[in-house]
Symmetry: C2
């Protein structure tokens, strides 16, 4: 929390990510003559991480799709309350937060300016979040409060319905049916494709899919990652999962243990 909510270092990472997003829209998309040949950045159904496929935009209008929490919106009120109360994540508390916390949030540094610029240039800005569809009005109000709106349910705001799984691919495909998604932003790999969260993948294998596949060049060029060391799918594993065996070092000056 010190890092994400308090530091200039994390603010710089976020500004950098949104600068890259805006630069991509302006240069890679905006300067294209034939818009129909622009490439969508959503994996087509049937893709794998080793064999990713994308389609061209055709006549669909262009859109930017973002996650909400810790991608566009900082949940300052909730995180402070969670830290002060000393407990971990609590789904009931989070639900009350969605319902009552709309004015205790702030935009991620750079997000409001980048989204305003994208809308001005004709891109539709769409949010795809696992927040509850039952809190749609309050979530739209939170986005407005942070200067990130407007967002309208089932048009530019896609939320998780009662009993729906936490994956985002099905909503992503619904959005892709109407719009050509030319940029995505998130703080979790699942904001880009559910394929990253295969339940049987090791920590090392999951990390390797990011930089060791044909997807690597998308980071910063279509796919934009925001920092979040506070919660989520990144926080997993013991020492043997996190550190490779060939980089093991034992301090020669330490007392025997």
């Amino acid at each position: 929390m010190q890092y994400l909510y308090g530091s200039g270092e994390a603010a710089a990472l976020s500004l950098q990510a949104y600068q890259a997003l805006w630069n991509y829209l302006k240069v890679e998309i905006g300067y294209r003559r034939d818009k129909s040949q622009i490439r969508s950045v959503v994996l087509t159904p049937g893709s794998t991480l080793d064999n990713p496929r994308f389609e061209t935009c055709g006549k669909r209008p262009l859109a930017v799709v973002l996650d909400i929490d810790e991608t566009a919106l900082l949940n300052l009120g909730y995180e402070r309350d969670e830290a002060a109360s000393g407990g971990g994540y609590d789904a009931a508390r989070w639900s009350r937060w969605e319902q009552t916390g709309a004015d205790k949030v702030a935009a991620v540094p750079g997000a409001a300016e980048a989204l305003a610029a994208a809308r001005r240039e004709g891109f539709t800005v769409i949010f795809n979040s696992n927040r509850s569809a039952a809190s749609a009005a309050q979530t739209a109000a939170a986005l407005d409060h942070a200067g990130l709106g407007p967002a309208a349910l089932f048009d530019t705001l896609w939320l998780r319905g009662e009993g729906e799984p936490s994956g985002k691919d099905s909503r992503r495909q619904k959005i892709a049916g109407r719009y050509c998604i030319v940029a995505m932003a998130g703080d979790q790999l699942g904001d880009f494709s559910d394929l990253f969260n295969a339940p049987d993948a090791s920590i090392a294998a999951r990390r390797n899919t990011v930089g060791g596949t044909l997807l690597a060049p998308l980071w910063g060029a279509g796919w934009f990652m925001l920092p979040n060391p506070v919660y989520g799918t990144a926080l997993k594993g013991g020492l043997d999962d996190i550190f490779p065996p060939d980089a093991r070092w034992t301090d020669p000056g330490a007392a025997p243990r």
Copy 2:
């Protein structure tokens, strides 16, 4: 550590930062006709964060300046040992690590490729680190091991001498005397300017200097930030320092405390 060393999310952030660095060198610098009019990204002496000044390159050769630890090089062996031993940072252990850990490291994702591309295009790659000058040979070997070298002391490798302060501005100015620094990368604000670390600045004021000054547009365009929630100047402050007072929320469903 789970986030920085184990997650695909952090790998994506790093790839994105180095993609932005390479893109900046290629497009913003490489396509310029009159190289003498390129702007250095080092604050000139006398600058303040509110009134930053930069000079043009003139005839100096172009260089990229990077921090080493957790910017270009992941200290896998040291961090694993520190976590396994359960202690905090220990300067003597770190010194032994500099001396004996050169083959227990890895490149930050994207760094080796970006630095190789920069060198190929004629940019000089220079490291400015607070590692000890007494370990220069071992540090150069660690950079080689990770595919980030070559680096030569007092030419492309600037380290901290015995008794020198931890600020990097004085070494930065020495480098800037010979080269025009057109891009910098780091994981701490002090990798860009010591002015960010004014001892009397509050946590909130320090964070605000990143996005609320004329320096904001540099992130992702000349200044490139790498993630590091594990150690450093970002990890400071209590709840009242980190969270703004106007975003305070109390869970209406919590038991009274």
